[in-house]
Symmetry: C2
């Protein structure tokens, strides 16, 4: 396996070190190449994602990304110029975000009996993220700003199909479309019709619909109702942060940016950002990065290794001191040791 | 005071009856005219909001709306043709949504010590709600749907100014802009610049910014941080449902659709929908409708009466049996009696 690693900014490099440590236990022969992209490179060279680097990234089987972003860089530069550019250039149409409340983890909800175990399939290459829009009469009192949400049948169908496939493989076989069809009539109509069409090929999967506003209510009052959620890029951005929060925080939330066709390498990253306020202090929880490695292995067909990492994380979460789970290194060492003994036990 | 009443569908008429009962205690001389709009009218006549009715509505000092919507009406018809049409025609640019955790109310969060008391100023007449968009190549595999978010300096400035004015009047004097400026660069730039500009006129008000995805996390992990939030139409839709959920549910959430210029009557409505599943059973909690009446009185300058209603609601919430607060009528009777005795005590 050839793995491109983008440690990025802030706590990114710290959590990536631990993630690679754990990866090394299940895949000792992985070849990694590290790419220096993010705030530091932009400051020193003005570069965000040079074509040559993009070309090299394409030669890999997968990409592991820590986090990008720094308060010294104006908002939007790294997001649009690096992170979203990677997602768009590499056609990462399925932004996969599982949210599971692991035993032992206390989320913010009072009802601790709820079993929360959902997967959000967020569209990753269009919608309001298309970057279509503009300013007119800038800096006058008549200024107008537009943002165009672009939704294509092609783009929606492939993520809806993927979401149904995932629902088929899960015990509850339940899929919820989250949108705002009563207001965004055009995009809503297209999303609804495609979900209806694709559902005909999956008679086993029960289908529900929730407006995005109502979905946020359900996330905090009845999160167990969700199994697989399929939704657009912006709604997915919002509800996956909320789903992460109710399952113990973004310190535990992993994500995969997948090109399902496998024409381009998929990219795996913790949902959390670069957290510059705690960077360099070995305070970051590398668990989300480690779980992102599990998603990576799963995507590459190494299901067994992925399961071992998940089981190790589950064990550590159930037994760790929640109030002081240890330093970044300590958690990484613990997870690596657990994976190593799991590997020996199984292998 | 001339009040137009639109009871609407489902539980709408039930909660409106109680809201008017309470209003009668503080404003016995109010003249009401009732307008039959909603699912039933659409079914029998095909009409949503006839011009003549719109003209009559304009002759009132305010509008009180119960809820519109019914599963027998295709999604979007009543929303765009009636509810949003009223908001747009009557230039309801400030969609005001307070969210307060009243003593005695148990929300879904484990941390019951958090004092939650925020007001969301949601823009009400533009953004992704503009209805600008379309379908191309419908029902082919090359179909495209667009939705255009339209944001004007004029439209943003007036709600931002209103939000700062409200922040000035609150003890904490804190305002948070919620947006997604790192992805929606054009709209985000305009919103940010206007907040910065208007903030210069309010040196007392501290200003924060939160991406909408992060804001949903904060709503469940640290809701006390919010005082006044200003945001666009769609983000406001989403976060106000979540804010309502964390403060005890949409059974308690009131809203005002305000034309700050007072050229058009403002409209007050509970945030909840028509809840057809529980309609006709006297099971709906009329508290949100009653609190909407308080917002109405406040908007019309009858501050004292508004405070009396709020105090009565606060007392009832602190003392009611949360598990079985009583029938719609019983709650309405209790609130009316409390307001009446408060009125006698004060007046
Ligand atoms: C950083 C930002 C561009 C990004 C997004 O909006 O997709 C982030 O919030 C995420 O969810 O991965
Ligand atoms: C019913 C719908 C059109 C409406 C909205 O999206 O504004 C509702 O959700 C609300 O928040 O009042």
């Amino acid at each position: 396996m050839r793995l491109a690693v983008i440690p990025g900014d802030g706590i990114g490099p710290e959590v990536i070190t631990e993630a690679l440590k754990v990866l090394g236990e299940v895949a000792p022969s992985v070849e990694t190449s590290t790419y220096d992209l993010g705030a530091a490179r932009w400051h020193s060279t003005g570069e965000l994602l040079p074509e040559s680097v993009l070309g090299e990234l394409r030669q890999h089987d997968a990409i592991l990304l820590g986090a990008v972003g720094d308060p010294t860089v104006p908002s939007g530069i790294l997001e649009r110029g690096l992170l979203l550019r990677l997602r768009f250039e590499l056609d990462h149409h399925v932004n996969l975000r599982p949210a599971r409340l692991y035993p032992g983890v206390r989320g913010p909800l009072a009802d601790t009996s709820a079993e929360i175990d959902m997967v959000v399939v967020r569209e990753g290459t269009e919608g309001p993220y298309a970057g279509n829009g503009g300013l007119l009469r800038k800096d006058t009192e008549h200024e107008i700003a537009t943002e165009v949400s672009v939704n294509t049948a092609f783009g929606i169908r492939r993520v809806v199909a993927d979401a149904f496939n995932r629902a088929e493989e899960r015990p509850r076989k339940h899929l919820t479309l989250v949108h705002k069809t009563n207001v965004l009539l055009h995009a809503g109509s297209l999303w609804s019709r495609i979900v209806e069409e694709v559902s005909l090929e999956h008679p086993d999967v029960t289908v529900a619909y929730s407006h995005v506003d109502a979905a946020t209510i359900h996330m905090v009052t009845d999160p167990s109702r969700f199994d697989v959620i399929v939704t657009d890029n912006l709604f997915g951005d919002i509800i996956t942060d909320l789903a992460a929060a109710v399952t113990g925080g973004i310190g535990l939330a992993a994500s995969g940016n997948l090109d399902i066709t496998r024409r381009n390498p998929s990219m795996f990253e913790p949902v959390h950002g670069s957290a510059p306020d705690i960077a360099g202090q070995s305070m970051a929880d590398p668990t989300a990065a480690v779980l992102s490695v599990a998603l990576l292995l799963d995507h590459l067909g190494q299901r067994e290794s992925a399961r071992r990492i998940e089981a190790s994380v589950a064990f550590d979460l159930a037994t760790r001191d929640q109030a002081s789970p240890g330093s970044t290194h300590a958690i990484g060492d613990r997870l690596a040791a657990l994976v190593s003994s799991n590997t020996r036990a199984v292998g």
